[in-house]
């Protein structure tokens, strides 16, 4: 019982750290993409529509990685594989 509580506690901490890292990475990525987008417009204002499209889809690609990390975090929260392993070892 105590082992399970430990597993759930440590998993919660790990999920918090994972989500914080994903959020930080996403924020840094968006910041870089938007700054380069603005630089591009400042250099060549007539390229605005093309740069807008490129920016949004580069952002979409960058956003894919935090989303995958979010999926992993949800896996740890809702179908904790570590808890299942502990239960199996204790039960077996």
């Amino acid at each position: 019982m105590e082992a399970m509580a430990l597993v759930y506690g440590y998993t919660a901490i790990a999920v918090g750290i994972i989500l914080a890292a994903a959020g930080l990475g996403s924020a840094l990525g968006w910041g870089l993409i938007c700054s380069k987008f603005l630089e591009g417009i400042a250099r060549q204002p007539e390229m605005r529509p093309q740069l807008m499209g490129q920016m949004l889809f580069t952002g979409g690609l960058m956003e894919a990685f935090p989303m995958i990390v979010l999926g992993m975090a949800m896996w740890f929260v809702f179908a904790n594989p570590f808890a299942a392993a502990v239960q199996a070892s204790v039960g077996g």
Binding site: G53, L56, F57, L61, M67, L70, G71, W75, V77, A79
Partner: protein
Amino acid sequence: MSFALVVMRRVVRRLLIVQVILTLIIALSYLVLQNSDGLFAAFYGGSITLSGTLLMAWRIGRAAEVASIERQQRYIEIYIGAIQKFILTLVLMALGMGYLKLDPLAILISFAVTQLSFIANKVDTSYVPVKK
């Protein structure tokens, strides 16, 4: 319709097609290698990405509409769209893994692979509208 919106719609259409194809490939692989449970989970994972892309496409269309009224509103619409996509992914993942008890690994693999379809996508800006 603005040139930016024409480009966006073209790219979103291609992105959706690539994501549907990738979902089908992964789901069929799960069916062959595992069983129908893996098939449903893989379909579910792919559909999370598809719903996110559809939401993004809707938001971009809306941003282009409101931009004609107020330019600043476009960025607010896109920002709201990003938040909605995040929440949608969170809720659908929780629903699939927590409530429906689908295979988490199949959901995650299908979701991750379809997310990477952004790499295969390119923004085609070859069309130049004729000025009147």
